[in-house]
């Protein structure tokens, strides 16, 4: 009940716009003033809507500006399908901001994203620049069509598995070192990040129940043994702290799906 923290809000947020960002990938904006002001890079919101699935769905905050927040999503099931079908003015119940975000200290940052792993990056670029870091965003996907067309930061590097745009190979291979390494994408990709940069900050994806720390459904296996909660101690982790072999990589709505 230390609750009472004024940093968490439950808002009815009207959808204000939707735009495509890549093949099957869309950015949805909604009006959530208190959350837009409070959110920090790497934090997420838990969204629910009338007639939707029972549990809320967690989304990294993609951008926050003035009174609006944005999330990025793909249709991966009935829930996201409903959210994408929502019309201008449709109301989304928005709980957030939740979780622990990125820690931005240093002179340079490299942001590494794979597929839908773009989700926390524009906000990370904003906050990193505000903290005085030079920001390079390495943007990866399987093909050019699946590559999110939007970017932010001082420099952008594109990478595709099939070579159809930019660097021919993975975003991890295309990235240069920096003081701060931030990554988000499929758990397999994050495991590769952990190999190369144990100190990287990675935003992991798990199934999630409550989003607020009480259900223990979003367990993340730790190298030192045991689990903690993606929604509370995470979703941003020091890459070397996670037991990658025990973290499921086959989520049915996995970011690569």
């Amino acid at each position: 009940m230390s609750g009472g923290r004024p940093s968490l809000f439950l808002l009815d947020a009207p959808v204000t716009s939707k735009r495509p960002a890549a093949r099957g990938m869309f950015v949805i904006s909604m009006r959530a003033p208190e959350i837009a002001r409070a959110v920090r890079a790497g934090q997420f919101v838990n969204l629910g809507w009338a007639g939707g699935p029972l549990l809320r769905r967690p989304f990294s905050v993609y951008r926050a500006e003035d009174d609006e927040i944005e999330v990025v999503l793909k249709s991966v099931g009935a829930g996201t399908e409903q959210l994408l079908a929502m019309k201008h003015g449709g109301v989304v119940s928005c709980l957030g901001p939740l979780g622990r975000g990125f820690d931005l200290k240093g002179k340079s940052a490299v942001l590494i994203s794979g597929g839908l792993g773009v989700a926390p990056m524009p906000l990370a670029a904003r906050d990193a620049k505000a903290a005085g870091l030079r920001v390079t965003w390495v943007h990866g996907a399987r093909t050019a069509a699946e590559l999110c067309a939007e970017s932010a930061g001082d420099e952008v590097v594109w990478a595709t598995d099939d070579g159809s745009k930019g660097f021919h190979g993975t975003a991890v291979a295309a990235a240069a070192d920096a003081d701060v390494v931030l990554a988000c994408g499929p758990n397999r990709m994050l495991a590769a990040v952990a190999e190369r940069w144990p100190e990287a900050q990675v935003a992991v994806e798990t199934y999630m129940g409550c989003g607020t720390g009480v259900c223990l459904g979003c367990a993340v296996p730790l190298k030192r043994g045991g689990y903690d909660r993606a929604c509370k101690e995470g979703p941003v982790y020091r890459a070397a702290d996670i037991d990658w072999s025990a973290l499921p990589s086959h989520l049915s709505y996995a970011v690569t799906a």
Partner: protein, 300 residues
């Protein structure tokens, strides 16, 4: 709206269900005034890591969970949480677990008399542990043995949380009543399974999980009613309650109070809405107190 339940005087009939509220210390946007009592996350004597992920899966109008009673153990609970509970204006019951009747007894002895702990909810119905749990809940002799082991170690209220995974819940209800339980909580989750059609295997690493949420509510109302018919001690209804009407179904069906669980995950204000909705219902129907609510409870 005050109610007496199994040795505790509660200011309201809506309680937070075990496993959906943690230890009450980090529940967001909580309106404490609405809370009759809280039942803590289930605890074992010793720390437990819990099951590997994936631990949850959504199902139609419900969810499966196999958390595996992850918890810090009794010593940490006494050190970190009980002192805070002692300052709260509602009672906290500890949901207790063990792999044997004697371990339940040992845990009770460790927790009995600790300021902040107002009573015990014996969990003989967790489907997500390898040893104990459900095993004690579907055998009337084992259920009674665990209840007696706890009863002998404490004078605090002892409630017993029953499993729905039985052919006649009345038999178990009577067995634990005879063994000294002050109240029953009905019901815990149903055992379920869901298959990932991409991986061709169960969606939960534990293979099975406990089904909760609105999907189980009619089943839960029936089982809570069957338990209430079988005993003289109060029954606390649990299972898929998301709004006041859901809670009122359990109350009319013979329950003295209710616990709200999964709904809290979806709606952090669920407990306050259920509480306020019951009060509004009573007023609209002209009942001065909850005790005046008509009950449908023909005795066995």
């Amino acid at each position: 709206m005050a109610v007496a339940v199994g040795g505790l005087e509660l200011r309201g009939p809506v309680l937070a269900a075990s496993g959906t509220f943690g230890y009450g210390t980090e529940v967001p946007l909580l309106e404490r005034r609405a809370l009759g009592a809280m039942v803590s996350k289930g605890i074992f004597l010793r720390p437990r890591a819990g099951t590997p992920p994936p631990r949850i899966a959504e199902t139609p109008s419900g969810m499966l969970n196999a958390i595996g009673l992850q918890g810090p153990g009794a010593d940490a609970l006494v050190r970190d949480y009980a002192p805070r509970w002692a300052e709260w204006d509602f009672p906290v019951l500890v949901n207790i677990n063990g792999e044997s009747a004697s371990e339940y007894g040992e845990l009770t002895a460790r927790l009995d008399g600790v300021p902040g702990i107002a009573g015990f909810e014996i969990n003989i119905s967790c489907p997500n542990v390898e040893q104990g749990g459900l095993y004690f809940g579907n055998d009337p002799r084992a259920a009674a043995a665990v209840t007696e082991a706890v009863r002998r170690r404490t004078k605090l209220p002892v409630w017993v949380k029953l499993t729905p995974m039985v052919s006649d819940i009345g038999v178990i209800a009577r067995a634990v009543e005879s063994a000294g339980a002050d109240a029953l909580c009905a019901i815990n989750t149903f055992v379920g399974m869901s298959i990932d059609l991409n991986a061709y295997k169960p969606r939960l690493s534990f293979r099975t999980g406990g089904l909760s949420g609105p999907a189980i509510r009619p089943l839960a109302v029936h089982l809570a009613h069957q338990a209430a018919r079988a005993v003289r001690i109060p029954v606390v209804g649990i299972g898929g309650i998301a709004c006041a009407d859901d809670a009122l179904e359990f109350l009319v069906a013979g329950c003295t109070a209710v616990q709200v669980g999964t709904a809290t995950f979806v709606n952090p204000k669920a407990i306050a809405e259920v509480h306020d909705g019951i009060a509004a219902f009573l007023e609209a129907r002209g009942f001065a107190t909850l005790a005046e609510l008509p009950r449908y409870l023909p005795r066995d």
